[in-house]
Amino acid sequence: METPVESMSVNGLDALEIPTLSPRALIWRRFRRHKMAMAGICILVFLVLYSVVGAFFVSESYANYTDTSKRLQPPSAEHPFGTDTVGRDILARTIYGGQISLLIGLFAVLVETVVGVLIGAIAGYYGGPIDSILMRFTEAMFNIPQLFLLLVMAKFFGGKIPTIQLFGRTFSGSVIVIILILGLTSWMYLARIVRADFLSLKEREFILAARTIGTSNLAIIFQHILPNSMAPIIVSATLGVANAILSEAYISFLGLGVRPPTATWGNMLDGAYNYIETAPWLWIFPGSLIVLTVLSINFVGDGLRDALDPRTLTQ
């Protein structure tokens, strides 16, 4: 990232009058102008509050409490979003489901970014046979449509990871499985971007300089090259969260996702299409929350892409 020099180049006086903005301040200023992205941020904050603060009002045991005498009740004062097929309160389940869905989105992207950056960086930096082996593998993974790969991997890892206790709550092993497989099936695109960036950056003079003074390969990769290719990584990671939440919904919808009683927005939709005529509230509420989340993350990603684009840096 280069500091803007245009304001200084006019004449010396201007440079004194206009304070030079740091790159970060510039990015923030450009991001703020993107109305849709700001709306996206607001909706996201609201959704996070909804699933975090909401948890103080209803307990998880209530969200998982089944009462078959009250099954498939339409929205009422007692159950504002209605009840599901075994009489659980849908409002409470969207709150706890939201936590899990958002967690899955964030952590899956973490896995995706780590794997994608590592493979892309190693392939791009070292080149040669390492590059061709890694890229053949990337290409092979790329050629299998993601949903098919996800379903096969969901079956592969299914039941192999035990339930864990964290922060006094029980996380079904299937949550970790989903995070892993979502991360492991979506890194290919990122790896390609990072590799392309590394290929061009490693030929630059500052890398040559770093190498001449004996900087280790690891330090060159992570301290000198990686910070220069952060912009596409950030954008791709942001959009990745939306994708991960969508993919989680797809596999949960197909019954291979997170196992009940743990709720996610995705697995609340599982089987909802059997009640399309009688109980539309089963899918309207969790479905709308998914759409709202994905939409606002996509807006934010779009805003970030514009704000981080170095070609518009001086605007």
């Binding site: 849709m36 053949r136 593998f137 290409e139 092979a140 993974m141 050629n143 299998i144 449509p145 993601q146 949903l147 098919f148 379903l151 096969v152 991997m153 079956k155 592969f156 299914g158 939306a242 969508l246 919904a249 797809y250 919808f253 197909l254 291979l256 939709l269 909802a272 299409y273 399309i276 005529e277 539309p280 899918w283 479905g287 709308s288 998914i290 759409v291 994905v294 939409l295 996509n298 807006f299």
Partner: protein
């Protein structure tokens, strides 16, 4: 060009080999295909042993992969369990065009299973793709010509929402509106599930009627993204000098738009379509499940849940080949549309 195609096809061989290896290892560890053999009862232990020998499931995984790849008619297998291989194998292997037989539907060849379903999926997919291309070009060109008009802004917003929409949400919502509510309001309503009404039979009209909702749901999402794309490239192309020249020499607007501009504007679209067709096959899993469409996606779901390796491998290899072929076709079409591109 011919050389380029041949080289690309040769490169596809190791790629398909790696894909098949990854998938085979994953699939063989996903569960026990012999647990119930697709029936309700648990398989008896003695049957189990016999079946495992018969299918070669008792062998190490690399031998199983080898049998899947090149068959086992060159060796003998041990059928009676006395440790001495005596029966010659009968499988021919994928390389000789035989995908084996299903493990859960006894003795049914994988190719037969896939052939039964493939036409249904293709019918749905090709129709959807045609609808997508027609509508996204119309909408994209229109909003490029009327940039920043009300309709342009509306299209932008709707396409962003559509792009973020999971297919099942649109599917469920459209089912709810066009089938459930239209029925309630006494309007002519659309059927929701299956390929035809069993009471009427599989007539073309019935199939077409049952295709409306699935095609609508799938097309809506893709049209959203594609039309944005057409709009962007059209805006770019319309500012080129050669368009001004065409206008200056008095060509009719229609010719300029659809002959001169669209041909160049469609270049990036070709890439997107070529890369998206496999995605459409992937999206079909969910669509076929919701609308109970008897296609490949449902076949895949049914058999992946019962760890039926040969069928799942057959479907996935078919799709992988399709992906590679479509990439190649995309490159060729690209060169044909843009003579500046030369492959060597």
């Amino acid at each position: 060009m011919t050389q380029y195609i041949i080289r690309r096809l040769l490169q596809a061989i190791p790629l398909l080999f790696i894909i098949s290896l990854i998938l085979f290892i994953l699939m063989r560890n996903t569960g026990d295909p012999l647990a119930t053999m697709g029936g309700r009862r648990l398989t008896r232990p003695e049957d189990r042993e016999r079946l495992a020998r018969q299918f070669g499931l008792d062998k190490p995984i690399y031998v199983q992969y080898l049998y899947w790849l090149i068959g086992n008619d060159w060796t003998k297998i041990d059928m009676d369990g006395d440790g001495i291989p005596e029966t010659p194998g009968t499988r021919k292997g994928v390389l000789r065009g035989e995908f084996g037989t299903s493990l859960v539907i006894r003795g049914k060849p994988v190719s037969t299973l896939i052939w039964e379903r493939l036409p249904n999926t293709l019918l749905l997919m090709i129709t959807t793709e045609v609808v997508i291309i027609i509508f996204s070009i119309i909408i994209g060109v229109y909003s490029a010509l009327r940039q920043y008009s009300v309709i342009d802004h509306l299209v932008t917003t709707v396409s962003f929402v559509g792009y973020s929409m999971p297919i099942f949400f649109i599917a469920l919502a459209s089912m709810y509106l066009f089938a459930v509510n239209f029925k309630k309001w006494g309007l002519p309503y659309l059927p929701t599930v299956g390929m035809f009404d069993p009471q009427i039979g599989k007539t073309p009209a019935q199939v077409a009627l049952h295709m409306v909702l699935p095609v609508f749901s799938m097309a809506l999402i893709s049209i959203a993204g594609y039309s944005r794309f057409v709009r962007a490239t059209m805006l770019e192309v319309m500012n080129e000098d050669y368009i001004r020249t065409a206008r200056a020499k008095g060509l009719p607007n229609f010719t300029i738009l659809f002959i001169h501009a669209l041909k160049n504007a469609s270049l990036p679209l070709v890439t997107i379509i070529g890369l998206d067709i496999p995605m459409l096959l992937g999206g079909a899993i969910v669509t076929e499940r919701i609308f109970a469409w008897p296609g490949m996606g449902r076949l895949f779901l049914d058999h992946v849940s019962r760890a039926d390796t040969p069928v799942v491998m057959g479907i996935l290899m078919l799709i992988s080949v399709a992906v590679i072929v479509f990439q190649l076709i995309t490159d060729i079409v690209y060169a044909w549309l843009d003579p500046r591109i030369r492959y060597t």
